[in-house]
């Protein structure tokens, strides 16, 4: 009987512990936070625990940003290439050039860490004169040596963004402490806008070297600074990185040495709250000041609320329909008229206003609106009669069958389930006599098959690599390039224009050339633009200058309360 009694007692104990805990767990009364145990703790407002109380005397000016699921892999500026990091990068690091008008203008750049720059007539040599008196957070002055180290490290690490440097730059040198001279491998008028990218941030070379960083050719094996850079920063930005708790939050603090004056917030906390509804509640409760990625219905509900402001901006993301030109995959689609018929069969208005509630632009083909050479008027319109007559001309009067593989349960451009869009296209095409078989596949396999050029038709999304039309034209219009090869697209005229435009320095001439490229792709109807989502950010009405930036998402330098 002995072990029996003992186990019963054990069970009794477990139940007792459970009861005590559950007594706490019963949501009967609001539990107030315990007073800070340590006097060293500054008195902080604790809205999580006591949200109903009116503003307490705030000793600290803390901004809390609620983010959806963060995809951050690293916060090393020369390695990161995901969606979440740029806003943190921008708050902690800076680049030679930036976007004018606090980021609202995207078709040209202006100097930031550079004081001025010069581009050679042939778009081959870029010379930057650095601003004097800029200090890193460490107090070290920023010099041309730091710029050279930073850019070379970006290339030598051979990580995700390394191509930005390696594919373009032939040499980089510092003739003196305040001058950087970059010579490209071939003329490229888009290089200046690439330098806005957070990968081209300037790091404190002394600090990074001290932490094991190197820009030597063997950096991909020899560089050991990433672990340190994942939880610290070494930049000139208004804030410094204090903490990155993966899956939880990133904390940045005011940089006391900031060259443009002290920034307004003591701390900014980027909290990951993956669930949309939970994030919205946290915003309404005042636990977070900014909510990113709320769903359309939630935003509609907050629209009339005076406590909040809704910031709308145009992203450079896009979702498009790709149709193969390979007759082995589809004899029908290899005929340009069939592809054109599909282009005219799509109910664009129904997608943009019906499915998306007007939260997206109609991108004509592959270059997002707002960039050089784009024009909303290029966008194709639905014309069922024209679609039918094109099919008839091509000999498919009685219709044809096409199979479209799409990534199942995947949110294209983060705004629309591929399944929803596929069903809509199936319906639209059905109306002109094209039987669209839709076939979901897991996103990883879909991506592999699309990249391998195995699909007849698909819907896919594309995120910007850098801020110039060249980024899209070079991938979609050039035979064998990353996107073009997936549909076996080859149009000599479009290819030549895309390549020549990159070597042209006159913006007006370039704009004309990119316009022509888009017209050719539209005529070929291989890539049919569907959605360029607008981004909607909801922020507390107390915040000033919350401005969407298509490269950095939000630039916290300008923001204040």
């Amino acid at each position: 009987m002995k072990p029996f009694n003992r186990s019963v007692r054990l069970l009794g104990f477990a139940i007792a512990v459970g009861l005590i805990l559950s007594a706490c767990a019963q949501p009967i009364a609001p539990v107030q936070p315990a007073a800070p145990a340590q006097p060293a703790q500054p008195a902080q407002p604790t809205p999580t625990e006591a949200p109903a109380q009116p503003a307490q005397p705030a000793a600290e000016n803390v901004l809390v940003v609620g983010l959806p699921k963060a995809d951050t892999r690293t916060l090393d500026p020369h390695r990161q290439y995901e969606i979440t990091p740029p806003q943190i990068m921008r708050a902690t690091y800076e680049t030679l050039v930036t976007l004018p008008d606090k980021g609202a203008t995207i078709d040209r750049v202006e100097p930031l860490l550079a004081e001025s720059y010069e581009v050679s007539e042939d778009a081959l040599v870029y010379t930057f004169k650095l601003r004097s008196g800029v200090k890193f957070a460490s107090g070290n002055p920023m010099t041309a040596e730091d710029v050279v180290f930073s850019f070379k490290r970006l290339g030598a690490l051979q990580d995700n963004p390394a191509w930005l440097f390696n594919d373009h730059v032939a040499s980089i040198e510092a003739p003196d402490a305040s001058t950087v001279k970059i010579t490209l491998k071939e003329p490229n008028a888009a290089f200046l806008s690439m330098l806005v990218s957070p990968n081209f941030t300037v790091v404190d070379s002394k600090v990074v070297k001290e932490k094991g960083g190197t820009d030597a050719d063997n950096a991909k094996d020899a560089d050991k600074a990433t672990d340190w850079l994942d939880s610290n920063s070494a930049g000139t930005g208004p804030y410094v990185l204090k903490e990155w708790k993966r899956g939880e939050q990133v904390v940045i603090e005011r940089n006391p040495n900031y060259w443009r004056g002290s920034p307004p917030f003591d701390r900014i906390i980027f909290r990951e709250i993956p669930d949309d509804a939970a994030r919205q509640q946290a915003l309404e409760r005042g636990d977070i000041d900014i909510a990113v990625g709320l769903d359309v219905d939630a935003i509609k509900r907050l629209e009339g609320n005076a406590d909040f402001q809704i910031i709308v901006g145009n992203t450079l993301d896009m979702t498009y329909l790709a149709l193969t030109t390979n007759a082995e995959l589809s004899k029908g689609l290899a005929d340009k008229r069939v592809r054109q018929a599909i282009k005219h069969a799509i109910d664009y208005d129904g997608i943009l206003n019906g499915l998306l509630g007007g939260t997206a632009l109609h991108i004509p083909t592959i270059i997002p609106l707002g960039l050089l050479g784009t024009d909303p008027a290029l966008a194709p319109k639905r014309d069922v009669e024209k679609a039918k007559s094109l099919l008839k001309e091509a000999g498919y009067e009685s219709g044809l069958e096409i199979t479209m593989v799409y990534p199942g349960e995947y949110k294209l451009s983060n705004v629309i389930l591929a399944d929803t869009l596929a069903a809509k296209l199936q319906e639209d095409l059905g109306e002109v006599g094209v039987k669209l078989n839709v076939e979901p596949r897991d996103p990883a396999s879909h991506r592999a098959d699309y990249r391998g050029g195995k699909l007849m038709a698909t819907i896919a999304d594309w995120t910007p690599d850098f801020l110039d039309p060249h980024g899209w034209a070079s991938a979609f219009a050039v035979e064998g390039a990353a996107a073009a090869k997936r549909v076996y697209y080859a149009n000599k005229e479009a290819e030549k224009l895309a390549l020549d435009a990159a070597k042209t320095t006159d913006p007006a001439k370039r704009a004309e050339m990119y316009r022509k490229v888009q017209e050719l792709i539209l005529d070929d109807a291989v890539f049919i633009g569907l959605i360029q989502p607008k981004v909607q950010i909801v922020a507390s009405a107390k915040l000033k200058d919350v401005i969407y930036n298509p490269v950095y998402f939000l630039d916290y330098y300008f923001m204040s309360r």
């Binding site: 009987m1 029996f4 186990s7 477990a14 139940i15 459970g18 805990l21 559950s22 706490c24 767990a25 949501p27 009364a29 609001p30 539990v31 936070p33 315990a34 007073a35 800070p36 145990a37 340590q38 703790q41 407002p45 999580t48 949200p51 803390v62 892999r73 690293t74 290439y81 051979q158 990580d159 995700n160 963004p161 390394a162 191509w163 390696n166 990433t226 993966r246 899956g247 939880e248 939050q249 906390i269 909290r271 709250i273 993956p274 669930d275 509804a277 939970a278 509640q281 946290a282 897991d442 996103p443 990883a444 592999a448 098959d449 990249r451 995120t463 690599d465 991938a475 390039a481 990353a482």
Partner: protein, 339 residues
């Protein structure tokens, strides 16, 4: 057989089982016709042979599959779980980062489930076919049926958003400075550091998700305790106990509950294993940085080392829970022998 010998034998049986798990995991991951690099590298980087080569070398993807598997197992034997392509961290570091949060939640959820489930089951059995019994049955039926993410959202909008009794998503008030990580269990670490403010905030944040996560186990336990008790209460020895004049309380608590405990222990054990394996939905709704989200993220990205790391962890947890359940059988019922 002594407990020690029994334990040794169980561990020995476990080892080949775990290797089978790794082999199966590797084959499945390998058979998926997609390149894991494509999940982390951009289109541009994928088009750049040098970057792709650097990644292949770094993660050993340039080697033939059997060599990769042998390397993996070789490292595993040395206690190295490999590195995640997505987080670029060692899997053991990742698990050490995310697992404690899950343990904290699962333990709290299980305690709540036991604390409510066992008494409710007993009462329902004793007061069979009364209003209390019906209510308990409806409650347990609902608890088993309701999807946890829905329950989570409901709890959050009621207790956090409307009534404002409970804190929102997250493990602790984001504005607090946290004590150094010792165990990774925030409630324990804050006490070790003597930080009452952090402890209070962590405990407060723990309640709602634990209650939501525990609802399913609670219902399960209620149902099993109830049916086991009903069966036991009809036995002859219960009639004997009553006949010899014992008070009802002693009959139920000492004679009946002991014998009804076996199936309940199995249910509790399995439910606990289930919770430890990660509660993705609860973790998502409550922004809980646990192992469930990590596992799902890794699976989506075809990230082999973490997928295997979590799989092995879950396998070990289940094996351990089964072992504990078996041992507790022997302790609870002297007729059961460990063999």
């Amino acid at each position: 057989m002594s407990l020690l010998a029994y334990l040794a034998r169980r561990v020995l049986v476990t080892i080949p089982l775990l290797f089978l798990v790794t082999l199966l995991g590797f084959v499945i991951t390998y058979l998926i016709p997609a390149d894991p690099l494509a999940m982390v590298l951009s289109e541009r980087a994928m088009a750049n042979p040098q970057i792709v080569q650097a990644y292949r070398e770094r993660w050993g993807l340039d080697k033939p599959p059997h060599e990769r598997y042998l390397t993996y197992v070789g490292n595993l034997v040395r206690g190295d779980f490999g590195e995640s392509i997505v987080t670029q961290q060692s899997v053991s570091a990742d698990i050490a980062r995310y697992f404690p949060a899950t343990v904290e939640l699962a333990v709290a959820a299980t305690l709540i489930a036991i604390a409510f489930g066992v008494p409710l089951g007993i009462v329902a059995a004793v007061k069979r076919e009364t209003l209390i019994d019906h209510l308990a049955r409806i409650f347990s039926l609902v608890g088993v049926c309701v999807p946890v993410f829905w329950l989570g959202l409901l709890a959050l909008s009621l207790f956090y958003y409307r009534l404002q009794w409970m804190p929102g998503p997250g493990r602790v008030n984001a504005r607090l400075d946290l004590p150094p990580v010792v165990t990774g269990l925030l409630t324990v670490d804050s006490l070790l550091a003597g930080r009452g403010d952090v402890f209070a905030s962590a405990l407060h944040h723990l309640m709602l998700p634990a209650l939501v996560l525990g609802a399913y186990s609670m219902s399960l336990i209620t149902r099993i305790v109830r049916s086991a008790m009903i069966e036991v209460l009809q036995q002859d020895y219960i009639r004997t106990a009553r006949a010899k004049g014992l008070i009802e309380r002693a009959v139920v608590m000492r004679h009946a509950l002991r014998n009804a405990a076996l199936p309940a222990v199995t249910a509790i054990g399995l439910a606990f294993g289930n919770l430890m394996a990660g509660a993705v939905m609860t973790e998502t709704v409550f922004a809980w940085p646990g192992i469930g989200r990590y596992a799902v993220e890794s699976a989506i990205k075809l990230d082999f080392a973490p997928i295997m790391g979590v799989t092995l962890l879950v396998a070990v947890i289940y094996i351990a829970v089964n072992f504990v359940v078996d041992v507790s059988y022997a302790l609870l019922n002297p007729r059961v022998r460990l063999s």
